[in-house]
Amino acid sequence: MIQRLFLALLLCVSLLAAPALAVAPDEVLDDPVLEGRARALSAGLRCMVCQNQSIDDSDAPLAKDLRVLVRERLVAGDSDEQVIDYLVSRYGEFVLLKPRFAWHTIVLWAAGPVALIAGLIAIVAALRKRARNRAAANDVSAPKLTAEEERRLQALLDKAD
């Protein structure tokens, strides 16, 4: 946390003369629908000079430039995908906070579901193995009583009656 705060500040704020707010009033679009799309897009785009901040959250000048750029493209009539494609073509995939699903990110995306499924299989296998072991153990143990034991068991049962 300390490191995070520290880096966030060192990297972002040290570039500034005066701190500005993320999303300044003069950037906000008049059309609320377009502005809403701009905000949603901004939350998924990385401020590349910052430590893991979206351009929606960041005070850095680069983030401001990107926010303005996103809004320009939206006003020009781009779809959300077109805006993202444009930014990726300009800045690389690093700009996306949610990496695209592709060969080089397949491990990343699959990790959670695969861990879940693998865990489920392991549990089912372990339960089955135990049930089998138990059944086997029962089979073996059943005829284990000696004649003497049978006699004592019978005596005990008789006493109980």
Binding site: L21, V28, K98, T105, V107, A111, A115
Partner: protein
């Protein structure tokens, strides 16, 4: 001279860790009581020595001794006294010293309070703890010595990073470290059990209070860090899925799984092998977190490569401890006997499900945190993995887990009747459904998922209450006798219900604060009023102010509700003079569980200023829920059964030997 004394104490401590690493375990393997008896006094002495060196460093900070490099780099004579004190752990060297201090503190606790442990288990546990301590004390001495002097002391220090000059720093790292490092005891217990080849219900009973203690502090530490970021960073976010946050979150997830699986082990002697593995994983993730935060690998893989001394050292420790313990596990675990059997639908089954989802979630966070580093190191490709990714992968794993929470405590051991459990949860389900519909009715259909989230939170909370109510049988036996039963419930039952209620509260806070937040960004002149969520906020003007080591521009706002003044807020923008670093201080008005959050932006000339105003409904529940979860851990620790002491297997064995003779 005093500073050298602190350094010397640390060197002595290193020598003692070597004694602790070797003699007790040798004694345990040779069955030599005298060698085993070395462990407790040495563990206490170790703690005193590290404490001494910590006190010396603190003294250097309080006296602003600028002949010590660490003090020069992180302190300033004009800094308020509290921050001189907390500045001790506001830097790499000092925080590692605190880390080691807590490590030896836990060792000393086992040394002092471990009287009812079997002698060999205590000796080996303390030896394992000694190995970890030796590694980290050596790390301090070799790469991160906080006592380094400088030949020409400057007159003034370069001040502590302003963002760390906050009460948050006083509380957050110590809490977090007690949590992180507390898991070292569970780890040492697990490794000791593997070495001795003996794991039984008694072992679980000793391990569980330590796990609960560490978990309790880790929960508080994470919550504190989250609240600190929320009010200090000035844009109202409270969780960022940042690698450093994930570094503390992964041990939390694993630790949560561990304290659940330890229940199964204690009550039913099942899941032994898995519990030991989880104990190893949990502390390994703590070590990994320390590596991520302390090596600089997060800033960039290349920065790490250019100044690798510290990073490589911790990486080495990481490999030795994790690799070593896992190898030991692979070798010894198959020799452990399997415990009790259970049907898939049973309390045990429920706890296994809990472990499955928590482990999968932990794996998702683990891969998400490390993948960009690995990809960059291997292929040079740079990608970012941020909040949208984690929300998408982590969130769906939590939903089924939360749905299952109310079922867990009411299922019976070994074999349970799911139909009967469902019947007992009718009222809970009805309440959750009702509140979901009410939320839809109040907010409309445009947010489809949020009311379902509210319903889920209510389901978890009402489930926790219903568990207590049904246990007490209020409706069957009347209020008076019910109340007597309520008081007589074991601490662990209260702990479970309280912690589950807490997680429900946290979920409710997360859902409402994220989905129903209201926000305005605008430029205000003195006298301007902005209306948000039924509050009228008037900007009364801004004025400069001078603090002890900063100057600030303070905006003054009055908040009215229906014409009556309810609060006055003074958000500000500060410049810390020593480093010329700006920070924002948000103005927060708490009303019920909700908050109005105001932060200042750029000035626009002639008194006008950019303002960002939020209304965050029920947001404080996020942190209150965490506090209640920790309270649940406290109730569980207070359970009499944990204090009375576990049955001693040694005695049982003696009896059976006597019987055989």
């Amino acid at each position: 001279m005093i500073v050298e004394f602190g350094h010397y104490a640390l060197v002595l401590a290193f020598a003692l860790t070597l004694v602790q690493s070797v003699l007790p375990i040798w004694g345990a393997l040779q069955k030599d009581e005298r060698l085993m008896a070395v462990a407790p006094p040495v563990s206490v002495m170790l703690f005193l020595l590290v404490l001494l060196s910590f006190v010396v460093l603190t003294g250097a900070y309080l006296n602003s001794d600028f002949s010590v490099l660490n003090v020069v780099e992180n302190s300033h004579s004009a800094k308020p006294l509290l921050y001189k004190f907390t500045g001790v752990w506001g830097n790499h060297e000092g925080s590692m010293l605190l880390w080691v201090l807590i490590l030896v503190f836990f060792g000393a606790l086992v040394g002092v309070f471990g009287g009812n442990l079997p002698a060999d288990l205590r000796a080996v546990t303390l030896s394992v703890q000694g190995w970890v301590t030796a590694g980290f004390v050596l790390f301090l001495l070799a790469t991160s010595n906080p006592f380094t002097r400088i030949a020409n002391p400057p007159l003034e220090g370069s001040d502590l990073n302003p963002i760390l000059q906050d009460i948050g720093l006083a509380i957050h790292p110590p809490l977090l470290y007690v949590g992180y490092v507390g898991f070292s005891i569970t780890f040492s217990f697990a490794v000791a059990a593997l070495i001795l080849g003996r794991i039984d219900a008694a072992w679980a009973r000793w391990v569980r209070p330590w796990t609960l203690l560490a978990w309790c502090f880790l929960t508080l530490g994470i919550a504190m860090g989250s609240y600190w970021a929320y009010y200090e960073l000035g844009w109202g976010g409270w969780w960022f899925w940042d690698p450093v946050e994930n570094a503390s979150f992964m041990p939390w997830l694993a630790g949560t799984a561990l304290l659940h699986s330890a229940i199964v082990m204690e009550k039913r002697e099942a899941l032994k092998v898995w519990t030991v593995l989880l104990a190893i994983f949990t502390f390994s993730l703590s070590l990994l977190g320390t590596f991520l935060v302390r090596s600089g690998v997060l800033t960039s893989v290349h920065a790490f490569a250019t100044d690798p001394a510290r990073g490589v050292f911790i990486l080495g420790l990481l490999c030795i401890f994790i690799g070593g313990s896992l190898s030991l596990y692979a070798w010894r675990a198959p020799m452990l006997k399997q415990g009790g059997l259970f049907a898939p639908i049973s309390r045990e089954g429920g706890l296994v499900l809990n472990n499955l989802f928590l482990t999968a979630a932990c794996a998702a966070v683990f891969v998400g945190t490390l993948y960009p580093l690995v990809l960059d190191a291997v292929t040079g490709e740079k990608i970012s993995v941020g909040a949208p990714f984690f929300n998408l992968t982590f969130g769906p794993l939590m939903v089924p887990l939360l749905l299952a929470v109310p079922f867990g405590p009411i299922l019976s051991w070994k074999r349970a009747d799911l139909g009967a459990a469902c019947q007992r949860l009718y009222a809970t389900f009805g309440l959750a459904l009702l509140l979901t519909l009410v939320t839809y009715w109040a907010w409309g259909m445009d947010k489809v998922l949020a009311p379902l989230g509210v319903g889920l939170a209510v389901w978890v909370m009402a489930g926790a209450i219903s568990e207590i109510v049904t246990r007490v049988k209020f409706f069957e036996i009347g209020f008076k006798r019910g109340f007597a039963r309520l008081v007589g419930l074991p601490g662990s039952a209260w702990g479970t219900a309280t912690a589950h209620f807490g997680i429900g509260l946290t979920v409710l806070g997360i859902v409402t604060a994220s989905a129903f937040q209201e926000e305005r960004v605008l430029t205000m002149r003195p006298g301007d009023v902005v209306e948000l969520a039924g509050y009228q906020m008037t900007f009364e003007g801004a004025a400069p102010r001078r603090g002890p080591n900063y100057t600030e521009e303070v905006g003054h706002f009055s908040i009215r509700q229906g014409g009556t003044l309810v609060a006055e807020l003074d958000p500000s923008k500060r410049i810390y003079t020593a480093r010329q670093m700006p920070t924002t201080e948000a103005g927060i008005y708490t009303t019920g569980f909700s908050q109005v959050y105001l932060s200042l932006g750029e000035g626009r000339g002639d008194g006008a200023v950019d303002v960002r105003v939020y209304f965050k409904p029920l947001i404080t529940l996020i942190w209150i829920g965490c506090v209640i979860m920790s309270l649940g851990a406290v109730f569980s620790i207070a359970d009499r059964r944990l204090r009375v002491g576990a049955p001693k297997p040694a005695r049982k064995r003696q009896q059976s030997v006597a019987a055989a003779e």
